[in-house]
Symmetry: C2
Subunit: 188 residues, 2 copies
């Protein structure tokens, strides 16, 4: 017998992430999500009236999880350490975060052609960038807004290049983040 | 009557790019590509035995076009100018390159779950990175390989963030690229 009443929205988003990280987001149809979560199609439809609604909820969950990790930083650490610790949350440095990066990339790509997902992405990236900018401005660095955009872009690009081309080891990524932060907390 | 003999592979890849840039790569089925190119499904199948083969050919065409533009640089210009000119080819600075960036992102996301596309992506990114590294090494900069990875990641990440979240104007992107190059051609 299929589960129904016990199905939570979080169980279904976990199924979306599993499929998106292995086969890509386009493989995460209502039917496939139901199968992966071992529930009926009706149970999915009980929580989400459309695939777009399911994707939007899943993307919100994912970005909230990443931002919570990024915010959990010692405020008394030196600036470069704070930035490095926060930004390393976006890099595929272990198996779990590599899967997460694959899921992130598939949602970001879908956001390029979906207004709903683009709005979530806009809110997420603007929020991260603003937090980075505040820390850079507090250290009196020039052009804190451009520096913040570059810190964010570098980790987003490293993650994209790592999961799409497999050209970087965790050590490569750590060394790259360290040099990026060092370059941008310097006045130039 | 539908065209057949006159259909070229390039016509079909143009149709793939049009669909991928507006609706995403998953919308580029053989049926949709045939419709967009105004040819029969049989005409598409005459050139490509599968969707994977069509996507691989299209991705090769796209990366070859971008790399040709990146290679067309005055070798006597100063290092920072050469790097900026080459890397700006990867940024969505006008309507045409914004469309191209959307297509690139959708192929890169698909490469995260497709070995064939990942191999093309690996060859492309490794090639670009090696060329950047050679220029940085010729200028005696330390860690030229990490610097090259960061230059590439920054433009890939800026393009991803721009097309997925719409948070950057062409002026923002140009200012960011300029600061990234300036930061990384400095010894630090």
């Amino acid at each position: 017998m299929r589960k129904y009443g016990s199905t939570s929205r979080e169980q279904l988003t976990d199924a979306v992430f599993t499929i998106a990280g292995t086969k890509g987001l386009d493989a995460a149809s209502i039917r496939e999500v139901a199968a992966a979560a071992e529930v009926s199609i009706g149970a999915v439809q009980h929580h989400f009236t459309s695939k777009d609604e399911l994707y939007a909820f899943a993307f919100e969950q994912l970005t909230a999880r990443v931002r919570a990790r990024m915010g959990d930083i010692d405020p008394d650490a030196p600036l470069a350490d704070r930035l490095t610790t926060a930004l390393s949350q976006l890099l595929p440095l272990d198996a779990e975060r590599e899967h997460e990066a694959r899921v992130m990339v598939s949602f970001a790509a879908r956001a390029a052609t979906s207004d709903t997902l683009a709005e979530i992405q806009r809110r997420t990236l603007s929020g991260i960038r603003r937090e980075l900018e505040e820390q850079l401005a507090a250290a009196d660095l020039p052009n804190p807004s451009t520096r913040a955009a570059l810190l964010l872009a570098a980790v987003d690009g490293l993650a994209l290049d790592a999961v799409s081309a497999g050209i970087y080891s965790p050590d490569d990524l750590t060394a790259a983040l360290s040099l990026q932060v060092r370059s941008l907390v310097t006045r130039n």
